[in-house]
């Protein structure tokens, strides 16, 4: 289908984009990669009156390490993560895994990480990863830029802390310490389909082998990606064992609240969420040289 008519504005700087958004308020949407927005417009699920295209805002096209965080600018493409020189490092294995399974390889050349967070699809990949890695999003509002923790950024399906007239400028992923690894486990019917279920896992270990920090999140398990804090609490402070991993998986199954559809029944998806968390934990620990 052809989208509803709209006015197109191309911004060349963050200031210009912000000014357009302030002027048009709720009528305007930011166009970054557009790989979710444009299909939504084609189905007339979204009908913005104004699109503010930020693809020419070169200042927002970066993936860089600064101040203890990995900063991803608003038009950095998914593929920029996949191609980053540091992506092979163990501490970035969660992002590495995600960067290879978002949508499909062509979509990843245009789709953006920040755009995916802002879209906040119930089955998004970056949202679950951001929860597990405890990311933050920099949002520019009238009072200036503010940094929003991902847990409060993700409000509800397709709804975030970005209000009318505001723009998300950057995602920040904390640089984890050396003994950290992650894993992203996604089951999909075919490449590019929405996840049937997906789990993002990131763990770091103390010198004695006990778990120092744990991030566990699910996608396609509710209105938006969800942190399984019960599983995180179970894990932290303990040495990884098969029983502990099983318990974390069970907590994830319990927390998962998916919708039954052609991809599977509610019970199937709940079971799958637990299996994927357990698999993710085993893989992340394996990457740290711990076999459970």
């Amino acid at each position: 289908m052809i989208p509803a008519a709209f006015d197109y504005l191309r911004a060349h700087s963050p200031d210009e984009a912000f000014a357009h958004l302030q002027k048009h308020g709720a009528d305007a949407r930011v166009l970054a990669g557009g790989q979710s927005l444009i299909p939504a417009m084609r189905f007339r699920l979204a009908r913005p009156a104004v699109l503010v295209d930020i693809n020419d805002v070169r200042d927002l096209d970066y993936v860089r390490v600064s101040g203890g965080t990995l900063a991803i600018g608003a038009i950095a493409r998914d593929v920029a993560i996949e191609r980053a020189s540091w992506i092979g490092e163990r501490r970035w294995t969660l992002l590495h895994d995600v960067s290879r399974v978002v949508a499909d390889p062509v979509v990843r050349q245009t789709g953006t990480v920040v755009g995916s967070l802002c879209h906040n699809d119930p089955a998004g990949d970056w949202t679950a990863a951001a929860l597990a890695a405890r990311a933050e999003v920099v949002v520019r509002g009238k009072a200036g830029p503010r940094t929003v923790p991902i847990d409060t950024f993700l409000v509800d399906s397709f709804t975030t802390a970005v209000s009318e007239g505001e723009i998300a400028l950057e995602a920040r992923f904390p640089i984890a310490d050396e003994r950290t690894a992650g894993s992203y486990q996604k089951v999909e019917r075919k490449v590019g389909d929405f996840a049937t279920a997906a789990a993002a896992v990131q763990v770091s270990l103390n010198a004695d082998g006990s778990i120092k920090t744990a991030g566990i999140a699910l996608s396609a398990a509710g209105p938006c990606a969800v942190r399984v804090d019960e599983a995180e609490k179970l894990l932290v402070g303990h040495k990884p064992t098969a029983d502990l991993i099983r318990a974390a998986g069970e907590a994830a199954s319990k927390r998962s609240a998916p919708q039954g559809d052609l991809r599977g029944s509610v019970q199937y998806k709940k079971n799958l969420a637990g299996v994927l968390v357990a698999r993710g934990l085993r893989q992340a620990l394996g990457r740290l040289g711990v076999k459970v």
Binding site: Y8, R10, G34, T110
Partner: protein, 161 residues
Amino acid sequence: MKVKVTVNGTVYERDVEPRTLLAYFLREACALTGTHVGCDTSSCGCCVVVMDGDRAVKSCTMFAVQADGHEILTVEGMAAGATLHPLQQAFWDQHGLQCGYCTPGMMLASYALLKHNPTPNEAQIREGLAGNLCRCTGYQNIVKAVQQAAGAIAQPAGAAR
């Protein structure tokens, strides 16, 4: 809205509605019908073109106004006169097409793939083309064609570019 898009080296100046999708701009405003529209929902990859030299994009999921001031390569721009591009030659040699509908998208997705990884192995080709569907299921020969093309581009022989 006035746009100026360079397609296959030729500048096309057209007046388009902002909601015009790049695929339809190419097919209808530029009369370049080699870019096919398969699913129209960003699922099949038939409409893939290359933007600014090395980035494969689904032209059904981009507005023509976004291409204003940019360069687009479509299947019509691959050959140099009567000499087929190594990818086109390889698809011919390896029977990398049956009905041919997915072929332009396959070749342009492969074009961008080879720009970033000139020597992909079989698994990397299969992964790289995972967003392109062939309903004839002719994947084996498509993969062989990309392998041949990669070799031909890496080590041009004779008249090949």
